[in-house]
């Protein structure tokens, strides 16, 4: 061919240059209308082969002109050169479209069957892995879960404490109420005694015993008032604790969800 570089290439030379250009660069010689175009292509191909020192290998699968392969679920369209994997995948799905191929390996059916088996094994393995695998969480998610768990434990602890306090307050209220009723009875008794004494002594001076009883009554009254105040304060505390307890329980339920 080198000898015809100056005089002009024959049609078979041009065909060879066309196919080599396609194999090496995956596209046609840019312009074939001028007399120097094939000479330029010859130089480009010659330099490329000299540099790479290997002749391009003919691909296993060659599509006919105009044939287009579009793997489902992708935005890729394949024309020549087409990777073996893509061709085999296409043929495994649409074996009738074998007429889109200009050249196939003689054992293409075996290759397609092997491809199918490979894909099936891969799918099985993936399914098994997915079954065994704990749902993957990101580091951020894991941290969030940890923080939420800590919050939940804290809330549960607070609920326990609050329950204990409430119980204690309730017990105290009961004791105080009992004391109150006892004191009230005592007051009633003393009042009755005082009235009896007054009737007996008439309007004369109060005896020492009466003075003592009066003092005792005053003291008991003061005690009763103090107990009442304490009961009121404890009841208010108890209401606050109950409200806090409900809030904590609700938060705990949300965290668990």
């Amino acid at each position: 061919m080198k000898s015809r570089f100056q005089s002009g290439f024959s049609s078979s030379d041009r065909l060879l240059l066309d196919s080599l250009h396609r194999l090496l660069f995956g596209k046609e010689i840019t312009n074939t209308g001028c007399s120097d175009c094939y000479r330029d292509a010859y130089v480009i191909i010659y330099n490329h082969l000299k540099k790479s020192k290997t002749m391009p290998e003919k691909p296993n699968y060659v599509l006919k002109a105009g044939a287009l392969i579009h793997p489902a679920g992708t935005s890729n369209f394949y024309v020549n050169p087409i990777p073996d994997e893509v061709a085999e995948e296409h043929l495994s799905k649409y074996p009738s479209e074998v007429n889109k191929f200009a050249h196939l390996p003689t054992d293409w059916e075996d290759r397609v069957a092997a491809y199918k088996a490979r894909k099936l094994a891969q799918a099985k393995k993936e399914a098994e892995d997915a079954k065994n695998e704990v749902p993957a969480t990101s580091a951020e998610d894991a941290e969030k879960i940890k923080a939420l768990e800590a919050q939940l434990a804290e809330a549960q602890e607070a609920v326990k404490k609050s329950d204990a306090l409430r119980k204690e307050a309730e017990d105290k209220v009961k004791t105080l109420e009992y004391d109150k009723s006892t004191l009230e009875q005592e007051i009633e008794g003393l009042k009755a005694a005082l009235e009896g004494q007054t009737v007996t002594d008439g309007e004369g001076e109060e005896s020492d015993e009466l003075a003592e009883v009066r003092m005792e009554l005053a003291t008991t009254k003061a005690e009763l008032e103090s107990a009442n105040e304490e009961i009121a304060s404890l009841k208010s505390d108890n209401r606050a604790l109950k409200a806090a307890n409900t809030r904590l329980k609700n938060n705990g339920a949300k965290d668990t969800e």
């Binding site: 006919k64 044939a67 287009l68 889109k100």
Partner: protein, 198 residues
């Protein structure tokens, strides 16, 4: 064979798009291939609309050729018209090509072949339609395009001394066949691969 009657019934409104304005004419670049190089077994049409060709495939070792006609109105004279028949009407499709280059190679590789061969041409309409399916139109896919007139007027201002060839597909059963393969980008890729050959 069972007797079958064909009912030719309209199936859509005769409407015009108000959003996509039609543009007359054809773009400068086109593709031409030999009718006998087409692999009709591998070529497929849209299932719902047979006027759309989804894949246009050539036989092993065959390739298409690019056409380029410069100017504001390239391929002037390209048209389709009704051809009245005794029982059924058909369509004549004309494609006019100007070959501005002239010389022994052109005469041998193009003109002599155009004069006697049967061809298929793909031209790009300036009006792609609202869904781009109008972009590429195929002429000659059914009956094939053959030359009806070829002139080389050395003093022609239009052809600048080059060839003006008119190819006609006579009595084609369908009014228009369009090439559209999934998307306009995929269609262009498929057309480029026609030129690359196999």
């Amino acid at each position: 064979m069972a007797a079958e009657s064909c009912d030719y019934q309209l199936a859509a409104d005769l409407a015009a798009s108000c959003t996509v304005k039609p543009v007359k004419g054809i773009k400068s670049h086109g593709f031409i291939m030999n009718y006998n190089d087409i692999d009709f077994e591998a070529t497929s049409r849209d299932e719902t609309n047979p006027n759309i060709v989804k894949s246009l495939i050539l036989k092993t070792g065959k390739k298409a050729y690019k056409m380029y006609v410069p100017g504001k109105s390239p391929y002037t004279g390209t048209k389709k018209s009704l051809s009245a028949g005794t029982y059924r009407n058909r369509f004549n499709k004309d494609v006019s090509i100007v070959i501005l280059d002239n010389g022994p190679e052109v005469a041998h590789n193009i003109i002599d072949q155009l004069a006697n061969g049967t061809f298929v041409v793909v031209l790009e309409n300036k009006f792609p339609g609202s869904d781009n399916k109008n972009t590429f139109e195929i002429y000659g896919l059914e009956a094939g395009l053959t030359a009806t007139a070829m002139d080389d007027d050395k003093y022609s201002d239009d052809t600048e001394g080059g060839w003006l060839a008119t190819l006609q597909e006579e009595n084609a059963p369908t009014s228009g066949i369009y090439f559209y393969s999934e998307s306009i980008a995929a269609t262009r890729t498929a057309l480029e691969s026609l030129v690359s050959g196999s």
